[in-house]
């Protein structure tokens, strides 16, 4: 394990350099935006990475809460399976398809929905018990970092191309902002809480956040249809060569995110181990060397 990290780091560094080269040199210049558009190779992969990490946090939080209440574990498992099955089927039914915002293909939505049970079982298998919470805090922190990148590169891109820093009706950027706010508040809760159940409180907040996201999306979507706003980032299809570079960038970012998460995860595990060792110390250590377990006499004679 110890040797794996430096090797992976080097590979990732090379990959990132390659992706940068592809983005700056190989990808064709955009017809309308010129070279400025190249920030997309930074902006979009960051967004996808952030969303993936927040999704992992959401799943890990649900599982963590479920693991604390064994009675609900089977119920949650079945709910997740049902959501997966029903969701996938529903995406291909006409009434539901009408609800899907323009620009999203039903198969894309179906894949996202299918990811829920998939991630649920994979995460459940590899991260037992309290490790779920370690995964949650890791994915939240790294997710916030990538989300910050999205929010910083977005306006930087928008200004030269569309002349404005921000458009409240831009559904993607605004949804991302709300997601960022929710997860920053999540991190603040973890930092400021002095409860023994901080982890469960945070998991509850993550669930609230996840419930909120589709509502945010729909509220901005309708608002925008009523009040036409500039769409930063443009819609429409992409030159396949650009798409290619985008995917390469994303892969590189994922490798990088994986490395960072891995280290953060290990760090958190170590931290908890130390705390547990201290706690064990105070439990066993300097105390009264007396009869810790008294005879089961009910009434002393």
């Amino acid at each position: 394990m110890k040797r794996l990290f430096p090797i992976l780091s080097v590979i990732t560094a090379i990959f990132l350099a390659y992706a940068l080269y592809e983005a700056l040199v190989v990808a064709p210049t955009d017809a309308q935006q010129g070279d400025v558009y190249r920030i997309i190779y930074y902006h979009v992969p960051s967004a996808w990475t952030a969303f993936l990490l927040f999704f992992i946090n959401f799943i890990a939080s649900i599982q963590y809460l479920a693991s604390k209440k064994p009675s609900s574990q089977t119920a949650v498992k079945w709910i997740v399976i049902v959501i997966g099955v029903v969701g996938v089927i529903a995406c291909f039914l006409p009434p539901v398809q009408r609800l899907i915002p323009a620009g999203m293909r039903p198969s894309a939505v179906a894949t996202t929905v299918l990811a829920i049970p998939l991630f649920y079982f994979v995460i459940g298998k590899y991260f037992p018990g309290d490790n779920l919470d370690v995964l949650a805090v890791t994915s939240a922190e790294v997710g916030v970092v990538f989300c910050t990148i999205v929010l910083v590169t977005g306006p930087i891109w928008a200004r030269p191309v569309w002349g404005i820093w921000w458009a409240p009706g831009d559904i993607r950027l605004t949804s991302t902002l709300v997601l960022w706010l929710i997860y920053v508040s999540y991190l603040m809760l973890r930092r400021f809480s002095n409860s023994a159940q901080t982890q469960m409180l945070a998991a509850a907040l993550a669930i609230f956040g996840a419930l909120d996201v589709p509502l945010v999306y729909f509220s901005i979507w309708f608002f925008r249809t009523q009040h036409p706003q500039p769409v930063i980032g443009g819609g429409g299809s992409m030159d396949p060569r650009m798409l290619n570079v985008l995917l390469i960038s994303w892969m590189a970012f994922l490798c990088f995110a994986f490395l960072v998460c891995w280290q953060r995860y290990r760090l958190e595990l170590l931290h908890r181990e130390i705390e547990a060792a201290h706690a064990m110390d105070s439990l066993v250590g300097s105390g009264v060397a007396a009869k810790a377990s008294l005879p089961l006499s009910r009434s002393p004679q």
């Binding site: 706690a279 439990l283 105390g287 007396a290 009869k291 008294l294 009434s299």
Partner: protein, 231 residues
């Protein structure tokens, strides 16, 4: 003594940790029903944590607590808890407070709740007609009203954390007499106190705690030879 076949309250290796600090370090003990136990020990010995764990207010990090075969939360109807803060609303009168808590315990109007409440208030030596808000009571009166709240639903187990602190001698004696009466009526009573002499001759046993463990259980305040000294 068939009723003593199973202990009323049992703790099995109960550990409670607050971060790095271990308040309870593996407490294992059993207590019979219908007895009066005084819990003694210096500050930080874990007495309050033990009582709160018995009341279900704090969950043990490890170990099992059983009250009449149930977990403390499940046995909440059988538990009456009183602590040093009064657990009462300062702006309401005593009887108004008790009327509210009666509803929490499901004591409704068709169960003569008003009579029950008045009786309980009188039992603790206070006047049910008193309309003064609890915030204006003396400490002794407040403790007595808090006790009334704890015994309102006729619990089988009483958990009292320092009921005599800052209380005048007369009120303290009244509370002791009341608790003796409750023990005689078959209730199990646990009292944490720093004023052990008040309970000499009343308590069935004295439970000594130190550094998160029970170190001794004696019948009288004089500890048996060979036991550790409580500093």
């Amino acid at each position: 003594m068939t009723e003593a076949a199973k202990p009323a309250i049992s703790l099995s290796n109960v550990v409670k940790q607050f971060g790095r600090f271990a308040a309870l370090r593996g407490v294992t003990a059993e207590f019979d029903a219908g007895r009066f136990h005084a819990i003694l020990g210096e500050n930080g010995a874990g007495k309050t944590t033990l009582l709160r764990a018995l009341a279900g207010l704090t969950q043990p990090t490890q170990g099992i607590i059983s009250i009449f075969g149930k977990s403390p939360r499940e046995a909440c109807r059988d538990i009456g808890y009183m602590a040093h803060p009064s657990l009462l609303y300062d702006e309401m009168s005593g009887i108004e407070n008790l009327r509210y808590f009666a509803r929490l315990y499901g004591i409704t109007d068709d169960m003569n709740s008003e009579e029950v409440i008045r009786e309980v208030i009188q039992n603790v030596g206070l006047d049910p007609e008193l309309t003064r808000p609890v915030g204006q009571y003396s400490q002794g009166m407040r403790q007595r009203m808090s006790l009334a709240r704890a015994i309102l639903h006729d619990p089988k187990v009483l958990l009292l954390d320092e009921p005599f602190s800052n209380v005048d001698a007369h009120s303290a004696q009244a509370i002791v007499a009341l608790l003796r009466g409750m023990r005689d009526a078959g209730k199990t009573v646990f009292v944490i106190t720093h004023q052990a002499p008040l309970l000499e001759g009343v308590a069935d046993e004295f439970v000594w705690m130190q550094a998160g463990q029970i170190v001794d259980r004696t019948v009288s305040l004089a500890r048996t030879a060979g036991a550790e000294d409580v500093q």
